[in-house]
Amino acid sequence: MAAGAARASAWQRVRAGDDAVSVAERAALGTGARLVVWPPENLGVACAVVDDVLATLDRQASRFRPDSELSWLNAASGGLFLLGDGLAEAVAVALAAARWTGGLTDPTIADALVSLGYDRDFAAIDEDGEPLGAAVPAPGWPLVRLDGPLLRLPRGIRLDLGATAKGLGADRAVRAVRSATGQRGGVLVSLGGDIAVAGTPPLGGWPVTVAEEPDPDGAPCGQLGGQLVRLAAGALATSSVTVRRWQRGGAALHHIVDPRTGRPADGPWRTVTVAAATCADANAASTAAIVAGAAAEDWLVATGLPARLTGHDGRVRGLNGWPGRQIAAGGPIPVPAGSRVYAGGPR
């Protein structure tokens, strides 16, 4: 139990203004994790199981850990592999997301990211590195074959699961907390702002801020506007081109790369938030919408998922029942049932 106590100590309790819930935060997966539970006494157990989920996911799917299963896979230069259940699920979700989005997300994008300089922990990226070389479009997810745990990866293709991994982690975490707490109460897990909830929500839904990101030209991070919404079930995820930016040869780059071109997406939307039944769905959809650019609205409307898009000019567009500004007094976001990325299709 000593190990469990040590892990739990990484969490910091946070006062959120309501005694009915307990809130804690910690650094994880290169970003921040936030855990909110009710009843409050569930927090200790919840912290321990979320720690286990995040540590396991990191060992399985991190592109930045040389000892992760994914790094080992990528270093093997192609071949046939028998994956462990966890990585098999992560790859399956990434491939299903690629299929659903028509390749707007694509796990074969790893080399494109590396060619742009995103080949290490973000803090270690040279902020003004060498000029860009030729673009490296993604080879294409259809080249990767997964049959259960059996993965065939062609030579020269490396995987990056960034478009779905955080969502997958949040989904796993809320499920683990529910199981560990005897399905009692409710839980919210946020990984770097991608949020999943499960169980019985607070009255009217979990109050969540859809935050405006800091201005890339220098507005302080602390000056965040935003919209208060309520999430009774499912998940929310946000993708934006205004963070994780760096320079190469005088060119401003960001981490959301169009698999078709191998270059950072350059559409009219700077930030997209999507609500979906699972966080992996929301994570994939928000990334895909940024990449889709001018076609984002049509694509999102077709999915039926509530979404909020913010343009580079600051205009905000709500789709598929995304609540108006007065939602704090209204009902929760109408999240449609069914996942497009788990178990091969909607359910």
């Binding site: 071949g79 592999f81 065939r152 946020s190 009255l203 969540v208 934006s240």
Partner: protein, 110 residues
């Protein structure tokens, strides 16, 4: 050196069968069809079990929000990937003050 030989735990969870041509792979899969089908079947079951409880998010959600506690303050923020927003609440002179601070983290995407 085979990386898996350096880590027995890795060897258990992730085994590099071996690099091979398309034809060799096809022959191997056909030759071990029964085992592969069994593995795939197990994996399908595991994936189905492991998939999140979409049922808890079923329908047009929001209809089950009746039995939980009343929570009036924002408890989390969805924001740009990798930006963590810390929301804290304190009482000053009898008034509730909510502070949100964004932090761009040092790490990478998972």
């Amino acid at each position: 050196m085979d990386p898996s030989s350096q880590d027995p735990a890795r060897r258990d969870s992730l085994r590099h069968v071996r690099r091979m041509s398309n034809w060799t792979a096809a022959i191997l899969i056909a030759g071990t069809g029964t085992a592969a089908v069994a593995l795939a079947h197990q994996a399908t079951q595991a994936t189905a079990t492991a998939a999140p409880a979409a049922g808890t998010a079923a329908g047009t959600t929001g209809t089950s929000a009746t039995a939980g506690p009343r929570v009036t303050h924002s408890v989390a923020a969805t924001t740009a990937s990798g930006v963590t927003v810390t929301t804290t609440t304190r009482t000053v002179n009898g008034k509730t003050v909510v502070t949100r601070v964004g932090h761009a983290p040092a790490g990478g995407d998972s």
